[in-house]
Subunit: 343 residues, 3 copies
């Protein structure tokens, strides 16, 4: 099991979740208050008044003219976290301020930096540009997971579970039976896991959304940038169809399945998921089908991982798992995460 | 945060709560069994059979002729806690006795001494005589608080929160904006906090109960006798009206707001509240209004303090609050409580 | 309080509970998976895949042809616990196996050995042959107890509680008032507690089932084989009626009340109960009455012991009980259990 790396960027929310009202979410064990200021930017600060720790998101706390007024004793803060008013006196203590969190809005997400703000480099926020690109249509959601985030990392890095846990949705026998290749870019800190099935059954998830009939070529190319961003580049095409020599791939369907894996606490996780496709861009039926199907798949994972969390809670210390070839990606991810925690 | 002082008197119940039936309440972490004996006095003893710790308040335990019979094996105790019968033998072990708690009934409360009974001095039970005086009419209640008692002490010693948490009930802008004076009687162990508003808005709580219209003079004089008894001497009068030179004050309305702050456990509290008035003594509408309004205000506190308890439970160790002038009373109270715990 | 002895046999289930479907139950803190193989024998193994600890009883895990397939990644195990298939590779790691638990089916129970299987001697499974004998008719059930198993041992070894907790069902004044005799067979590790009432009221439990009217002779002979098997040999006859010199006892009614006391966790217990009678063997009304009555009695115990577990959870360390003559059997049982834990 892995602790939570600090001094990293995490997805806190979808941009659309944060508007002109107070919004609270716990990220990596830290309660955070968000709102979108009148100039359109997202502000983030600790959700806890400096005075008596009352949550600034808790009514009757309220937002007035880009200032948040604590509902307990009226301490008032600007969008920069500085206290501008306290009750019963005009002098405001110098230390009456909340340290804002660095925030970046990018690719439909609100990213937040957890750790020392001096270490926050916006250029290091990893990209998921397909989620906000005119070439793709995206459906997305977030499910709360009552399990530690490392269980979700394990889950997503080893897709052989699709055959068993998601049979009838996205799993077919070939996923579990086809070997994977794993590569780790140690410098960039990225884990790649690939599984290319050249002659596979087409699961309902892709058959209904693409209209393909018969056997398919199915490529799963995972790119995991720890701790938070997971992308599955999925390529579906009629069996035997390969990209052209010039790199174009007009006869294939491409789906980017993106997860943002954000620890809420040591034992709970925000499971953000998105499915972006490069076909049937305006077909709302396809959008509705993919949203419903992927949410079902995510909830199957949630149910299984919630069970695993409870299993871990009651097992004796020192329990040893057994790992095999399918786990090389997950083990590499654990190693990178462990390095992030201890470095 | 403050631990619970022992060797002190605490309010266990209202006198009216304890009659000829078994009554159980946990006080300062100790489960206590009460009943009113046939001679009219209240008896209190540990709510736990000496044999196998079965609660004597738990059916089928029952009270017969001022003796309580344990529902598990029939150990039977008199009102003095001495065991008078055990199953299967006539000899009763010398140690088969429950040590009664010292109890005082006074000012509508049942007070109990938690600690070494040898230290219990009934003369040291603090007074709230208005609650049982013909010159006053009182409404009262008790709300369970899922927060440590020190959070309620903080809350009541700093009434600037009325403006924010109790706006529309008892809070007006002047409460938060008017400075306080704080005094501590170190010998008697009493904290006094006063806030005199000479020209203030009249909140609905007082406007509807007194019939006053327009601006008012509003005095809040707090007298807190740690650990348990809090009294707010509240004076409401037309703006500009002061007591006469002889001390009489016929044009003002006086309300005594009394709280008894009794720890149930380390993290839960019995929040006893009472409102005694010296006007409209026989007006049941005023009684109903004040009871309903004060209960609403107490429940607003309960909701806020329950939130704070959960905030504290998840925060990292060593978290530091920021205190300002309004907190001088609360900080003095914490200091006296801390002295009680360590002395 | 006593920890859980290992290297002992425990009742895991009634034989009738385990058929051709996956069945899970936690025994002594260990999650165990059971099923009845096609050859009719019961198999038991850890309910946790060696790979990523997914419970093999948790859907979509499933049983196919006496092999269980993990619902997460498809690891597949035979009835002997050996893994026969893993995803993505043909080589099966040598360590991919679950160690089966020794199991014995006897006297209507499935017994399981918790500890080192090398120590499991089927000849040491204690007998309750009346439960599976043509001379008796048995009703049985199991109730979950949210209390440590030692509280149930205390309860059953001291039946004086019948008078108070089970008055109106199986308790009468004579149970509590009649002294007991206690014997311990140190070599066999068995505690015997006897109470013979020669002239007693007949409780409804026996009056309605036997049809006896008037005063009775009632013998309670307890035989407890720690940790799991408790038998109460109950003899009911018209007052004054004793067994004949040849040992036959044709005018008495005999009831064997059997409990299997199996820890689920440190703080919860499986409370198996059975009532076997040697009269009215085919009378379904008597069966229904005894089943309903004994279940009611067990639930009265469950309610009381669940309360005691909560009492213990909140009491200060070092709390001392007081024991008297009725407790000699319970104290002997505690001593044998303690010896089992430390030996």
């Amino acid at each position: 099991m892995t602790a939570i790396p600090r001094n990293h960027w995490y997805v806190a929310a979808y941009s659309r979740e944060i508007g002109g009202e107070l919004f609270a979410r716990t990220i990596c064990g830290e309660p955070v208050l968000f709102w979108r200021t009148r100039d359109g930017s997202v502000t983030a600060m600790p959700d806890r008044c400096v005075h008596r720790r009352f949550p600034l998101s808790q009514p009757p706390s309220r937002l007035v003219d880009d200032q948040v007024i604590c509902g307990y004793h009226g301490f008032t803060y600007g969008a920069d976290g500085k206290c501008v008013s306290v009750p019963g006196q005009t002098r405001i203590p110098r230390t009456a301020r909340l340290t804002p969190y660095p925030v970046v809005e990018q690719d439909s997400f609100v990213w937040i930096f957890i750790g020392d703000p001096a270490n926050a480099d916006p250029a290091r926020v990893p990209r998921a540009s397909c989620l906000d690109s005119p070439g793709y249509t995206t459906v997305a959601g977030m499910e709360p997971l009552r399990a530690r985030y490392s269980l979700l990392v394990d889950n997503l890095l080893d897709l052989s579970h699709e055959t068993y846990l998601h049979g009838g949705y996205i799993g077919t026998p070939e996923v579990a039976s086809t070997p994977i290749t794993t590569e780790v870019d140690e410098d960039a800190g990225i884990v790649y896991v690939s599984r290319h099935m050249d002659d596979a059954e087409c699961p309902p998830f892709y058959a209904k959304s693409t209209g393909l009939q018969g056997r398919i070529t199915r490529w799963q190319d995972i790119e995991y940038t720890p701790p938070c961003l997971y992308k599955l580049h999925s390529r579906i095409a009629p069996a035997g169809c390969v990209p052209r020599p010039d790199g174009s791939d007009p006869d294939a369907f491409h789906v980017e399945v993106v997860y943002a894996i954000t620890p809420e606490t040591e034992h709970t996780t925000h499971d953000f998921w998105a499915v972006a496709r490069d076909f049937a861009l305006d077909d709302e039926e396809v959008s509705a089908f993919l949203a419903e199907s992927n949410r079902t798949v995510v909830l199957q994972d949630v149910e299984a991982l919630d069970v695993l969390e409870r299993v871990i809670a009651t097992e004796p210390p020192g329990y040893q798992e057994l790992s095999i070839n399918i786990d090389t990606g997950g083990l590499a991810a654990r190693r990178l995460l462990q390095r992030m925690v201890t470095s």
